[in-house]
Symmetry: C2
Subunit: 315 residues, 2 copies
Amino acid sequence: MHELTGRILAGDVRGAARAITCIENDYPERTQVLREIFPHTGRAKLIGITGAPGAGKSSLVDNLIGYLRSMELKVGVVAVDPTSPFTGGALLGDRVRMQSHALDKGVFIRSMGTRGSLGGLSRNTRDAVRVLDAYGCDVILIETVGVGQSELDVMHIADTTVVVLNPGGGDAVQAFKAGIMEIADLFVINKADLPGVEKLQVEVEQMLDLAKHDAPWRPPVVRTVSIESRGLDDLWNAILRHQAYLVESGEGAARRAKHLKDEVLEIVHDQLYRRMLQSVEAGAFADALEDVAQRVRDPYTVAGQIADSWFQQGR
Amino acid sequence: MHELTGRILAGDVRGAARAITCIENDYPERTQVLREIFPHTGRAKLIGITGAPGAGKSSLVDNLIGYLRSMELKVGVVAVDPTSPFTGGALLGDRVRMQSHALDKGVFIRSMGTRGSLGGLSRNTRDAVRVLDAYGCDVILIETVGVGQSELDVMHIADTTVVVLNPGGGDAVQAFKAGIMEIADLFVINKADLPGVEKLQVEVEQMLDLAKHDAPWRPPVVRTVSIESRGLDDLWNAILRHQAYLVESGEGAARRAKHLKDEVLEIVHDQLYRRMLQSVEAGAFADALEDVAQRVRDPYTVAGQIADSWFQQGR
């Protein structure tokens, strides 16, 4: 057993932090540790939280941490940060503020960036969540800014996905058009002290009427004012109701099984790419690639031939 | 020959538009058309334009189109749009405004979205650029919002990448930290009528001193005021100087050769993944996947075994 595995399972915070660093940087011990902790995972409640920039997700998460801590639950937060090259990680708001929990050993907060991660954001996030699960977190909040489809894909890791909206943001219709309905299990109207709350709630309910009129689970709409910690009871109770629905309907188990199968294929995909690169670096297909570089042959035909030669033998 | 190929090569605008639709939707004729037009590509100047949201890229591109049209150059624009689920495609600004060129047959403008594109944004963009190249565009502008690493990767399609900065945006240092220096061939300080221009220019030059003190090409810094069309001569001359540098140094040919080789590998990777999915849908590895879904085995080990079985036979 890797020493990090033991430390994670013993609840050693620095061990967990180190393991996530190994994941982010794809260090060799990554896979061994993940293999070893896997049997000790699957216990935590995984709650996804997404919404437009400025919707107040950070302060909502901040308050939710405090609320969960008041019940003595151990809380993990994985903040998925799209790392804009122009704005840095500022999209997710003030990370420093969340450090109000920095001295609380029952809270573990970590940002995951997208840099250099060959489409590996969802993989890294999932693996980090798994570390926090094995580390003993009761609840893991996965927070992301919905700036792109790939950030939203991360939400498929969660059991319950909370979509945070704002009155006056005018974002409800846009969000629904872009497929938010498919991932939302629960809506929060945050900043519910601002004007326009009723209008937004009506809009959301109307769209739910259209989209989910006969669905077994209709996403509830909860109001919060996160700067005053208002509505947290409602939010948490709605999350627990959704979790109960997942268990009773069997949908939770089905979702998790599907996520695991998808994960296997994603890892295989990644490995095929790495091995292909290694093989090319070792000289495979050098002539064919040079032909394309010289524009003697086209990339589509050559790629098809390489894939064929690989795949037919691989059957 | 596919009828679309003939229409593209004959300069039929609707044929070009239709071909890009085929690319976006991955219709079966996509590959045939791309194969057939490939020998007729490689002629256009490919100019990438990126920068933070709000930097004024859209109006700069708009003015640049007008400038290039005044020289009777045929212009293509591919705008890469990260399609936020919460804000729609609004990040790239007012597309409608660019329609001021809608009646000009010498201008072709197209947005490429990210939805449903399995990491295929850069592939789709490159293929659309190729269609516009074969269609006869002299200059193709590839515009993207630098909101994520994947959007920046698109810039590797270009020969010359222009990074648009703003005085007072405070984004220069962030941008440099996040690797913008590696992709920038040219900086534009747009909105150069606002205060803070001198300060920003000094910052950029200082960072260039550090990063590029002995590089054969030092990115020039050009000032524009795009709402007044000021600085366009300077910008275009700087782009032409960079294009001349690419030819004289041989770097242009080397970049294009590398891009073509990378493209082949990207297509192979995509094909391997599709074939893997087909094969799994047809029942391959069903028991192993079910073991993972039931948590009897871990996803890392099973994925490694599947990749092994495929790859070792594929050598």
